[in-house]
């Protein structure tokens, strides 16, 4: 491998934004047929580096070498023409268009007179979708797909051209285990074709499963490249965050309190049926399931965003109706939504305002917003969650993906709710912060909060939960206590093959 010319080489890249030196003299290279991991904390500069490579940002200094040639890529188009395909961290899709058109966005096959060659387009797309083993077809409107499937559409783009290098920026952040397998197959086959792959992820197990080498960035600086086979998680973490991680489960054993939330036979149309469960003060309940299992919908119903078609919700033993999110908040329920860009943040607003948005009515000095109190809250959670930003005035849209997620979490933690629901809380969060968030969740429980964690990451569910509720096809299939759960039984429960006693969900 070493005598080959790299597929892609970066030398001394510098990129600054107002107030941030996002990249500071970064150099590294990717060999053909290699899967090269790029790791670093949230805000370390990974996405920025890749955007420089993809022609979206222009570097302030340094050069990019593709094959042997130094290149300047002023536009995304040019990067594509040079064989660099970029799968974005944030979904980059046109929801009104079909799957096929999105996959071939910007390079629709043409006939004479600028006409779209639909036949070719659909044929090629169908072939790609076949490889990806997805359940939708080329003509589906992308807006109708779930986030995970949208991510698969994004990934499908890697297969459209003869790429020299493919960049995957956190492709698994919103995928469940089933799709991950497919993704790894795709990566393996690209690798076999001699394509160089840059793979960005915060999930150590993936990194160690599929990559050949690991490069680490920290605060915009290049910290070195390790051979995956010759290193350990601890070493990588050490390089990334400059210290060792404490992965032991903090403050796990404490007394559980009364039942905070009880749900009886809750249904919402075809989305989920007859859900019954309880959450006690001091308890963390994990929800685990495949995409479309209906976990998010339950959370949304509890948060007053959907009208239940049947069933009861009891808070502190009192039956309640939750009319709206405002109502839910006033009753002490908070929801960290799964889609931070659409649901969690006002991207054009600054960090502080985003964080205090749900409680801005309560932070008053006379008729006005008490800025001091707001800044205090922001500072508290910035420190607690280690949010990397030049200051509260920074526009949230300019933060790195992981730091955005932390703002959302901070926003709901600062509400000090009775029942906290977190939907995919660590999507896109670096290992250090992730364990901090896990600890935080445990800590909250220890302080007496009732917490529901929805996650598609099994280790996460296993790690934080006192009990785990498995869902399949809109129904709760099984509830596990922390001591009785095994990976196998969990997988069976979420794929509908466990417990003959449980009613089989109707196919819908």
């Amino acid at each position: 491998m070493s005598e080959q010319t790299p597929a892609l080489r970066l030398e001394g890249i510098v990129k600054t934004f107002p107030g941030v030196r996002a990249l500071d003299n970064v150099s590294f290279s990717v060999m053909p047929g290699e899967v090269h991991a790029l790791m670093g904390e949230n805000g370390a500069g990974k996405s920025t580096l890749m955007k420089v490579l993809g022609g979206i940002h222009q570097p302030d200094a340094g050069q990019i070498i593709v094959g042997e040639q130094p290149v300047v890529m002023a536009l995304p188009l040019e990067a594509k023409a040079k064989g660099i395909v970029f799968i974005h961290q944030e979904l980059s899709l046109a929801g009104e268009l079909s799957v096929a058109e999105n996959i071939y966005l910007g390079e629709l096959p043409r006939k004479r007179l600028g006409l779209v060659d639909w036949a070719t387009l659909y044929a090629q797309t169908d072939a790609i979708l076949e490889r990806l083993k997805v359940g939708f077809d080329a003509r589906t409107r992308v807006g109708d797909l779930s986030i995970a499937n949208q991510q698969m559409v994004e990934i499908a783009r890697a297969l459209t051209v003869d790429a020299k290098a493919v960049i995957f920026d956190e492709p698994t952040a919103s995928l469940t285990d089933a799709e991950k397998v497919v993704l790894f197959d795709v990566i393996a086959s690209l690798q076999a074709q001699g394509v160089g792959i840059i793979y960005i992820s915060h999930r150590m197990e993936e990194i160690f499963k599929i990559t050949d080498r690991i490069s680490v960035l920290r605060d915009g600086q290049f910290r070195g490249t390790l051979k995956t086979a010759e290193t350990t998680e601890e070493d990588v973490t050490q390089l990334m965050i400059g210290r060792k991680l404490d992965l032991s489960r903090a403050a796990s054993d404490h007394e559980l309190g009364d039942v905070a939330l009880e749900v009886r036979d809750l249904s919402c149309g075809k989305l989920f049926n007859d859900a019954s469960f309880t959450v006690r003060y001091g308890e963390v309940v994990g929800f685990y399931g495949l995409i479309g299992a209906g976990r998010t919908e339950i959370a949304e119903t509890l948060f007053g965003l959907r009208d239940p078609s049947g069933g009861h919700i009891l808070l502190d033993g009192q039956e309640t109706r939750i009319q709206s999110p405002a109502d839910a908040i006033s009753k002490g329920i908070s929801l960290v939504p799964e889609d931070r860009k659409e649901q969690g943040l006002v991207l054009g607003m600054n960090c502080r305002d985003n964080m205090t948005l749900p409680q801005v009515d309560d932070l008053k000095a006379g008729p006005f917003v008490a800025e001091g109190a707001e800044i205090a809250i922001f500072d508290q959670y910035r420190d607690k969650l280690d949010i990397r930003t030049p200051g509260w005035r920074q526009i949230v849209g300019n933060l790195s993906g992981g730091n955005q997620q932390k703002i959302v979490i901070g926003k709901w933690l600062s509400m000090r709710p009775k029942v906290l629901i977190v939907d995919e809380p660590t999507r896109g969060i670096d290992v250090g912060s992730k364990s901090e968030i896990h600890n935080l969740i445990r800590e909250l429980a220890a302080q007496g909060y009732a917490v529901i964690v929805i996650s598609s990451e099994m280790p996460e569910v296993l790690h934080v939960s006192d009990r785990i509720i498995a869902m399949y096809g809109g129904r709760i299939t099984r509830t596990f206590g922390a001591d009785e759960v095994t990976e196998d039984s969990l997988i069976q429960a979420i794929s509908g093959i466990s417990h003959a006693a449980e009613p089989q969900p109707q196919a819908s």
Binding site: L77, F86, L105, R110, L271
Partner: protein, 333 residues
């Protein structure tokens, strides 16, 4: 079939339902309120409906693609007036004196070229300065109107050429000349948006501009082309209409932008871009003309007409919303 055309057609069925409602309503109300012995749904009257929809309709086709692209054009009324002036003015220019009726195609071409160029100017400014299309065209709505007045002061520009009038008033296969132009424009734009790469890219740009840029679509030229097209269509509308009427007041076409946008939005095109259908715009145009005609048919007075048109717009939106509600399970946002 291009993606989603049929399903969006049905989903945006509100406009066709509304047209049906208008037809039924005015037919029945006409029985009691109209002076005329003729039914509202008389064939000739329906043929007139299409013809009378042409001036707004042709421009609305252009506006649909502009709005799908995520922009807006408020200057169409002014472009319409300028093109009309070029059309009628150029017929009397001394340098064309010897041409006889051959001046007609020449004037047509000049007018269309003018429209396309004014559109291009809008597009170029939007592209190169990055100023929002709303502001750029709000400005040129005023600026182009200024140009209109420069040509002939406050005087109308007139040239009644009876050959031209006869051509414009002609009926071929029962349909009037303007109707043919309206249908042709609709077909062409439908084809453009559903069959060509340019059209699909325009959808992508309006839908998610960042994604389009990331995918390497060049946003600027596509926007520019669409502005050229709407300029051209505004001119075509003027050419068709003024061939028949032969005289243009400098304030003709005022408020057209609002009527055109209304028709387009009634047809279900989103103001935020990315979604919209040419056929539904056609429906929106018909619905508006039908409303005007129907109210005239039953003899409503001015204040009633204003009141009713306003309320109907709101009612159609409401209907559309009811039709598109997915059910109780929907997220309450």
């Amino acid at each position: 079939m291009a993606p989603g055309t049929l399903s969006t057609f049905l989903k945006r069925g509100a406009i066709w339902g509304f047209i049906l409602f208008e037809l039924v309503f005015f037919t029945i109300a006409g029985e009691f309120l109209s002076l005329s012995d003729k039914a509202f749904m008389d064939l000739d009257n329906m043929l007139l409906l299409f013809k009378q929809s042409a001036p707004i309709g042709i421009i609305a086709m252009g506006m649909t693609i502009i709005m799908i692209n995520g922009n807006i054009d408020l200057s169409v009324g002014a472009i319409y007036a300028i093109s009309a002036i070029v059309l009628l003015g150029s017929m009397t220019w001394p340098m064309f004196a010897g041409l006889g009726d051959w001046v007609i195609p020449l004037s047509w071409a000049l007018a269309l070229l003018t429209g396309a160029m004014l559109g291009a100017l809008n597009g170029l400014i939007v592209w190169k300065t990055g100023v929002d299309a709303f502001i750029v065209t709000l400005g040129s709505m005023l600026g182009y109107r200024g140009l209109v007045f420069m040509y002939n002061g406050e005087q109308p520009t007139s040239h009644l050429n009876w050959t031209l009038v006869d051509f414009a008033e002609a009926q071929f296969l029962g349909l009037h000349t303007p109707t043919w132009f309206l249908l042709a424009a609709t077909a062409a734009i439908w084809f453009l948006m559903n069959r060509t790469v340019h059209g699909r890219n325009a959808y992508a740009i309006g839908n998610n501009r960042e994604a389009a840029v990331n995918a390497g679509i060049r946003v600027g030229p596509h926007m520019m082309i669409n502005f050229v097209i709407i300029g051209f269509l505004a001119a075509l509308s003027a050419v068709v209409f003024y061939s028949e009427s032969g005289s243009v007041n400098p304030n003709d076409g005022e408020l057209y932008e609002l009527w055109v946008i209304t028709a387009v939005v009634l047809g279900g095109t989103k103001l935020t871009g990315g979604a919209g259908s040419i056929l539904s715009t056609f429906g929106g145009v018909l619905a508006i003309q039908l409303l005007r005609k129907g109210l005239a048919h039953i003899g409503a007075d001015t204040s009633t007409v204003n009141l009713v048109i306003g309320l109907i717009l709101v009612a159609v939106l409401f209907l559309d919303r009811q039709l598109n509600i997915k059910g109780k399970e929907e997220l309450r946002l």
